[in-house]
């Protein structure tokens, strides 16, 4: 009981919300969109000094992360289709409420409009990746709690972790409703030297976290 109370106090935010009709996590088959534009690298200079991308670290690093994430998802689902970001081009940006002060922004398809893949098929469920913020020692409340988002953050000199904050929605394409929405925060410790493997690891953990949450959120 005491432990329950303590954990309750330690993390007072709700970082996900499930639709009452979300009974089962996607298994085997999934479509993903958002991998082209969702990635943002913060502290670009810090990363540029440590990773050997040459110029335009922002573009290359996010591309790298996007590829790593896609690769990791492919390992998890037999039938994975990647939809281009353009399927949501006409949708307005909306916010979804996860907690009293937590709002997550992202484009959702229109009610009554079914998203079709470029090849004409209709994926039953689409994982909409809204935003992936990559940086060092990031905390998700600083990005999603509206009372905190205007606070200026200091860049800490000693970096303990590289982190990713990902916001996503599992979309029921047939009934056009959000089944599961969440914001996840993933920390990957930086040891002596930052390498591309670390970034890859971070993306792997991110995908694992997303999948884990989608399972835990089902049937709630």
């Amino acid at each position: 009981m005491a432990a329950l109370l303590l954990t309750g106090c330690a993390d007072s935010y709700h970082w996900s919300s499930s639709h009452p009709a979300y009974a089962r996590a996607p298994y085997g088959e999934l479509a993903i969109t958002g991998l082209q534009k969702a990635f943002v690298l913060t502290r670009t200079k810090w990363f540029a000094n440590r990773l050997d991308f040459g110029d335009s670290t922002q573009i290359k690093a996010t591309e790298f992360c996007s590829k790593a994430m896609e690769h990791e998802f492919r390992g998890g689902y037999v039938k994975l289709s990647i939809l281009p970001d353009s399927v949501l081009d006409n949708a307005p940006e909306e916010s979804q409420k996860l907690d009293a002060r937590i709002f997550m922004k992202g484009k959702l398809p229109e009610q009554g409009v079914i998203v079709t893949a470029p090849d004409g098929s209709v994926p039953p469920q689409i994982l909409l990746i809204h935003e992936v913020i990559i940086g060092t020692d990031l905390k998700r409340e600083n990005f999603f709690d509206y009372a905190l988002i205007h606070n200026e953050l200091e860049d800490k000199r000693d970096v303990k972790n590289i982190s990713a904050i990902v916001s996503y929605t599992l979309w029921d394409n047939l009934k056009q409703r959000p089944l599961f929405s969440a914001v996840d925060e993933i920390q990957h410790p930086v040891t002596l030297k930052l390498t591309l493997t670390d970034l890859e690891q971070l993306m792997r953990q991110t995908v694992q976290q997303i999948r884990k949450n989608m399972y835990q959120g089902a049937g709630k």
């Binding site: 909306e94 009610q111 009554g112 409009v113 047939l174 009934k175």
Partner: protein
């Protein structure tokens, strides 16, 4: 065999329950307390080719099932049936209305659709979708882009019975008279009940009754015992003359007249007059007092307080002001002494009895609360500590021994009082 019959019995019971459930023609998923207007304008909106409800028959059903509805008008909502955005939402609703959902799960997300709901102006939209053996029903009004009510009814080919079903399930509650254009405008310009500006200046006058004593609550009585128990001998003798309470009774009723004002509900001032009457504590064992009829001191005090307040509004009809005050006062004692009629000449001790300083200077501080009802009638409770004193140092004089003693260098007491006040705001 016994078991079998028991099982059969339970089966019959269960199947009965099942069929009873099936026969239940309506199933309301949620129904907020939306406003059903008298002479309602009802717009029937459907994604189907042909509406499952007949507007005319439905109007008649409404009048049959809700006697307060007056003369409702019903028609098909053609404007929305020809609109792409509305039709998409209608189709979506038809796929999404399920048991167990909250209204916000069924909210219209498209900005154009939300705008449509806002322009409904007292009209009620009745959404009807044909799902084969049952109809999905939802009710919308201008207040929100979520359905106010949703549920299902069993479909029947008989349009009259169908209208009755829907009217019975969703239009049963009390009706309200619709406001006219003028009333509506007036309602919009009416101020919010809870909205109130703090007046620039608020003033009050009051009268209070209370009680004062030397002992401050929660302090040990040993601090005061010496003063309180002290008695006056020979009209001037006590153990010391530091406190007036060596000579006079400290615990008396206290009456106050006061008036004050406060700026912005925060900083204010108060002027007051306090009155109390103190009997002298003559020593009964001293036979010299046999000549005396009575001996009292009336205490008059005038002073000025500075106060700091904070206002709370727990109810519309009551304001609560909590305040702390700090001030100074002048105390005057007027002696009331009289000899017995039989006694013509007073004793020598009588002539050299102790006397009080002309004015005593003192300070007071404390806190309190004013509850102001209906902006004017206040009930105030306050408590504090007040002091009075004089300069201790006096020029030594050769005949000091023959002079009367001037008493009360430092006197402190505690008081509490309850007052009735009248509050007003002379300017805003």
């Amino acid at each position: 065999m016994k078991h079998l019959s028991l099982v059969a019995f339970i089966f019959v019971l269960l199947s009965q329950a099942f069929f009873a459930n099936k026969a239940n023609a309506k199933d309301v998923y949620f129904d907020s307390k939306w406003t059903l207007w008298q002479n309602a304008d009802i717009l029937i909106w459907t994604p189907d080719k042909e509406a499952a409800l007949d507007p005319k028959e439905f109007c008649l059903s409404l009048r049959r099932y809700n006697s307060g509805i007056g003369e409702p008008k019903c028609r098909l909502f053609g404007e929305w049936e020809r609109d792409t955005v509305a039709m998409r939402y209608a189709t979506w609703l038809s796929n999404n209305i399920e048991a167990g959902l909250e209204p916000h799960h069924l909210k219209a997300r498209h900005p154009a659709m939300m705008a449509k709901f806002q322009t409904l102006e007292d009209k009620i939209v009745l959404y009807v979708a044909d799902k084969g053996n049952h109809l999905l029903i939802a009710v919308f009004d201008e207040n929100s882009s979520e359905p106010q009510a949703a549920g299902t009814v069993i479909k029947t080919p008989d349009k009259i019975a169908q209208g009755d079903e829907v009217a019975n399930a969703f239009f049963g509650h009390h009706t309200k008279r619709r406001l006219t254009k003028e009333e509506r405008l007036k309602m919009e310009s009416e101020p919010d009940d809870l909205y109130k500006e703090t007046p620039t200046f608020r003033s009050w006058a009051g009268i209070s009754a209370g009680y004062a004593q030397a002992q401050i609550p929660l302090t040990p009585s040993s601090w005061y015992r010496r003063h309180i128990r002290s008695r006056v001998g020979d009209y001037r003798v006590t153990k010391d003359s530091v406190s007036l309470w060596n000579f006079m009774d400290d615990s008396t009723p206290l009456f106050t007249l006061y008036a004050g004002g406060i700026w912005f509900g925060f900083i204010g001032g108060e002027i007051f007059y306090r009155y109390s009457n103190h009997a002298v504590k003559t020593d009964d064992r001293d036979s010299i007092y046999e000549e005396l009829d009575h001996w009292n001191f009336a205490q008059h005090e005038v002073g000025l307080n500075v106060m700091f307040a904070r206002t709370y509004e727990p109810f519309k009809w009551m304001d609560l002001h909590l305040f702390a005050f700090l001030g100074f006062q002048y105390s005057f004692y007027s002696e009331d002494i009289e000899l017995k009629d039989s006694k013509k000449n007073p004793s020598r001790e009588y002539e050299t009895r102790f006397k009080t300083e002309d004015p005593y200077k003192g300070a007071l501080f404390g806190f309190g609360t004013q509850c102001v009802f209906l902006h004017h009638y206040g009930l105030s409770v306050r408590t504090g500590i007040s002091s009075r004193g004089k300069d201790v140092y006096v020029e030594p004089s050769p005949d000091a021994a023959a002079e009367p003693t001037t008493i009360g260098a430092t006197t402190v007491d505690w008081f509490i009082s309850v007052g009735l006040e009248y509050h007003w705001t002379p300017f805003r």
